[in-house]
Symmetry: C2
Subunit: 270 residues, 2 copies
């Protein structure tokens, strides 16, 4: 399995603190040593840093922790490969353009028989992972449903949740996806989130000796949500998502949520 991390904020915010914890799980405090990637949105543009090396030993990961890129939406993934070899084209997040926007996607889990069950036509996978294949299928479905025009966020992401429910029938499908404005999370088995706002306090990372006093680096108006597979701090209260539950965030706030019929798959396939 892999580790997911995302951020949604109402002001450009750096994710150095959270990423400093997560990167340790890539070959140090965790076994997710098969590459990592992070995508930062800045306006309509985005940039990704990726490495097939373990994040705990990657010079590029070190740069990301030391060079504070400020963003309102971030998607990050560290990989423990279970489908597709370890190489750059199989490294998340995946980004594709649709409706004049960058769409970025990362997946934790494993899907059975995905190439038969999720046929693709327009968006063709480049690598060999179940994850990228499912992303291409989602984009194809959106293209078929809504054609050339992006619908309103609630319409769009309710439909994405239905697609997740279908994919979840093939296995574990914890998902993060963003168009740069919204960040959508679907929980198949495991996903947590926290919204930080005034009054801000201190927080300590679980995976590294690091404490931050958010009050020193924020204003009273800042709202920042972080989503992760497992909580990254041990002195804050994270929301635990339930199997089949989805959440939509925009500018740091939870703006919609729902519960699909998807239930957690049997433990043997987790």
């Amino acid at each position: 399995m892999c580790e997911l991390l995302a951020m949604s904020a109402n002001v450009p915010t750096d994710i150095c603190f959270s990423f400093s914890g997560l990167m340790q799980r890539g070959g140090n405090t965790g076994p997710h040593k098969d590459g990592w990637g992070i995508t930062f949105y800045e306006g309509k543009g985005c940039r990704s840093f990726k490495d097939p090396l373990p994040s705990a030993h990657s010079p590029i990961a070190t740069l990301v922790t030391e060079y504070p890129i400020k963003s309102e939406a971030v998607i990050c993934h560290i990989r423990q490969a279970n489908s597709g070899e370890i190489c750059l084209e199989n490294t998340h997040p995946f980004t594709r353009q649709m409706w004049g926007k960058n769409w970025t996607y990362a997946h934790n889990g494993q899907l059975k028989d995905f190439s038969n069950e999720l046929p693709v036509k327009y968006h063709i996978p480049i690598g060999t992972t179940d994850s990228e294949h499912a992303f291409c299928w989602i984009l194809d479905q959106l293209h078929s449903k809504f054609a050339q025009q992006q619908p309103a966020d609630d319409v769009l992401f309710s439909f994405v949740a239905q697609l997740c429910e279908r994919i979840h029938q093939l296995g574990v499908f914890n998902l993060l996806v963003s168009d740069g404005d919204c960040v959508f999370a679907f929980c198949s088995t495991k996903l947590h989130w926290i919204t930080r706002r005034a009054p801000f306090g201190e927080a300590s990372l679980i995976d590294a000796e690091m404490v931050v006093d958010f009050q020193q680096v924020t204003t009273d108006k800042d709202v920042v949500t972080v989503i992760a597979t497992q909580p990254l701090t041990d002195d804050e209260t994270w929301h635990k998502m339930q199997p089949g539950q989805w959440q939509l965030f925009r500018l740091g706030e939870s703006i919609a949520q729902g519960q699909t019929q998807a239930i957690s798959p049997a433990p043997s396939s987790v």
Copy 2:
């Protein structure tokens, strides 16, 4: 105008030497201070490093010079903005997926009336540059001409050259494009290339105090072609491309070339 740089090689090769020279032109030895980007192919995957900051002062550019990423195809661009504001979505190279491959593109020049003359339907620009718009138009044209199947390289890139000839009628259009296997270059006004092979010698950068002895870092079988707006070294002989000329490289070798009817536009529009 901007500066272009590309590499095609028959073994994974780092471009640290050439990039060390080029990055100085982004705010130090040259005026191209409006952002920069570089895309490395590794197998079917690729990764880009981009910054809207001047390359001469960018910590990410410093990482690229110090962390030797080995690649068989590279596309790089440093920007002097003339169309579209300075921001990440307007920063080259641009990468899009087609036919299950990553296509990467960078442009030097300026095009008039591009949104009317180059209508797009499927590949929609994200930023506001003439460059990205022309790239989307090229992909739309390829999609219309060849549908779901990538044709043979000679058929494909001869057609790309015809498209370049049309775009060139709108202004200056020096182009680099790659699908990870081939690197295609079209000269509208200014482009140079050099192929290095055994016996390798020394070379000195024009833009930085740096000399490399290629014999120390190569084998007898290595073949490496570098393409750039202007020669990067002052003690080697670079081929100067002519207006309307195109070149196709694969694994370091020139595998096809041609001359379109395109002639250099009047100096006033350069």
